[in-house]
């Protein structure tokens, strides 16, 4: 048997798990001098494959495990391993596709609480090793002339993800990762209610916090590059409720304090500048 054919067969049998179809491969194995059956030895690879991949999902999704319960979570992991074999040499990225898999799977897509939790946990994992940038302090604003402030636009840390989640997801995640009773969390009540979250990295650790609806809209618009002064006027923002320049300034201050902002520039319709117009 050519090496390529052997590897195709071996991989097929590892992906499928032990069974009758192993026979052609089992015939290729030498007998164990210790009395182990060929099936037992091949199963080291077959079961090892599933254990290893399942472990990656367990590590990255404590909240999902907590709200689904062990049995349902393991069924989800089995489905994912069966239907989405890994294609990235770096094992870190095996779990990245889980939320998308759940949204596309007839079995899992209607569990909005679970999908929501998977999205939050993926954002936490992605934030952990995203590109390094240096956050700016709020004092950076002092470098800009007051007349420029309405035109100020902001660059955000690449780790920042903004999420619209099923209501209760954040509290469930918080409970699942708590040091007092890790792994215990109730699933959020199913319904149409939503909540918003920001996930980012600060001081080498992933962080998250719930956003009020007006702050979520403001942050979305600010991240899209809109200037501070324009955001108050935006339809999307006005639909989310009352907003005042003072409230927006308060949000901006918290984004600086949270370490989300990495750049400030003067924005205009035809050009942007990364430098203050006056110091």
């Amino acid at each position: 048997m050519k090496l390529a054919d052997f590897q195709s067969l071996f991989q097929e049998r590892v992906l499928a798990g032990s069974g009758e179809a192993d026979k052609p491969l089992l015939k290729k194995l030498r007998l164990s001098p210790r009395g182990a059956t060929p099936e037992t030895l091949l199963d080291v690879y077959q079961s090892g494959y599933r254990i290893r991949l399942a472990d990656f999902v367990f590590q990255d999704h404590p909240g999902l495990r907590a709200i689904l319960g062990d049995e349902t979570f393991e069924a989800l992991v089995d489905d994912y391993i069966d239907q989405r074999p890994s294609h990235d040499p770096n094992a870190r990225f095996f779990t990245t596709g889980l939320p998308d898999f759940m949204r596309e799977s007839p079995r899992w897509r209607d569990d909005t609480a679970a999908v929501s939790m998977a999205l939050l946990e993926r954002a936490m994992v992605d934030a952990f090793d995203s590109r390094d940038e240096t956050p700016l302090a709020v004092q950076t604003l002092a470098e800009f002339a007051p007349d420029d402030w309405p035109q100020l636009a902001f660059d955000f840390d690449p780790s920042l993800t903004l999420l619209e989640l099923a209501a209760g997801t954040i509290a469930s995640y918080d409970a699942a990762i708590s040091e007092e009773a890790p792994g215990k969390a109730d699933a959020p009540a199913t319904g149409d209610k939503i909540e918003h979250a920001a996930v980012w990295r600060v001081d080498h650790e992933s962080a998250f916090r719930q956003l009020e609806p007006d702050e979520y809209v403001a942050l979305c618009e600010a991240r899209a590059g809109h200037a501070f002064g324009d955001i108050c006027q935006m339809t999307a923002f006005q639909q989310s409720g009352e907003i005042t320049p003072e409230r927006l300034a308060q949000c901006l201050s918290s984004w600086f304090e949270d370490g989300m902002i990495i750049g400030v520039r003067v924005h205009s319709d035809d050009h942007s500048s990364n430098t203050p117009s006056s110091a």
Partner: protein
């Protein structure tokens, strides 16, 4: 044979020990990283590595090069590896006599091959291409295996020797892997160590494994066992002064226990050196 200078006694760098390493600066001569764990855009792993490499030599050890795979070499992976090497400046880069998948799939395991002339020619050609791309000699490790194949045309150590000489690569001798595979397949582990070209060995791996009575599995979650220590002594006598280290990947003990294993290694080596000095006198 031009080889990198020996680094002494090292440890596999794992996140669970970051803080203790940085705060206590333990008596470890060098660290080996799992390359893939640092092939990332940024974040804590790279930040910790930057701080630790400021004080310790680093060696890069990969698990995904898939040298024996019949898939095309993954140059996206190799470019990332090369970029990491430019940042880390490792003493060397290693990977395994193994494959991890075909048809674009990766099984995240070090899979076995039949030791045939076809496999040999295939892996030799790929090691040479990797060495050309990385512009450095690759260090290649013997893997633990649980099955062996009726199609094999040579022993594992004959395969490894021929591979190293034809590809002109260096070797990482995993002493625990020799023991595990010898137990599982019934070959003489001493003959394996005597059969590989000692002049190409630049590193020893030492680790623990799990005993399932009819077979043993390379789990890196136990202390090094007595049989593997005995084999280490033989390897040390045969290969001389090469860099040696402990790998631990699960069931993590206090760092002090791993330091004690490194001290055991030092004690064995000191005894061998004394014996050799006495016999030379």
């Amino acid at each position: 044979m031009e080889k990198p200078a020996p680094l002494g006694y090292g440890l596999g760098l794992r996140p669970v020990y970051y803080e203790e390493i940085l705060s206590s600066r333990p008596p470890i001569d060098w660290f080996e990283i799992i390359s893939e764990n640092y092939m990332l855009a940024g974040g804590k792993p790279l930040a910790m590595l930057d701080r630790i490499r400021a004080d310790y030599p680093i060696v890069m050890h990969g698990v995904s090069m898939s040298l024996a795979s019949t898939d095309p070499l993954n140059f996206d992976y190799l470019r990332q590896l090369k970029a990491l090497a430019e940042r880390v400046e490792p003493a060397w880069i290693s990977d395994h006599v193994a494959w991890t998948g075909v048809h674009g799939v990766t099984l995240h395991d070090l899979l076995p091959i039949p030791y045939t002339r076809e496999s040999l020619a295939h892996i030799v050609e790929r090691i040479q291409r990797v060495q050309d791309f990385l512009k450095r000699r690759l260090v290649v490790e013997n893997a633990s295996t649980y099955v062996s194949f009726v199609d094999s045309e040579m022993s594992e150590h004959e395969f490894v020797r021929e591979m190293a000489e034809r590809a002109d690569c260096l070797l990482l001798l995993d002493v625990n892997n020799v023991f595990v595979s010898s137990f599982n397949h019934g070959f003489d582990p001493v003959a394996f160590i005597d059969g590989v070209p000692a002049e190409r060995v630049v590193q020893f791996h030492m680790a623990g494994h799990t005993d399932h009575e009819t077979h043993r599995v390379d789990t890196h979650d136990q202390p090094v066992c007595d049989e593997v220590w005995a084999l280490y002594e033989h390897a040390r006598r045969r290969c001389g002064d090469v860099s040696a280290m402990i790998e631990r990947d699960d069931n993590y003990p206090p760092l002090s226990e791993l330091l004690a294993e490194l001290q055991h290694m030092r004690d064995i080596d000191a005894r061998i050196a004394n014996e050799q000095a006495l016999s030379a006198a």
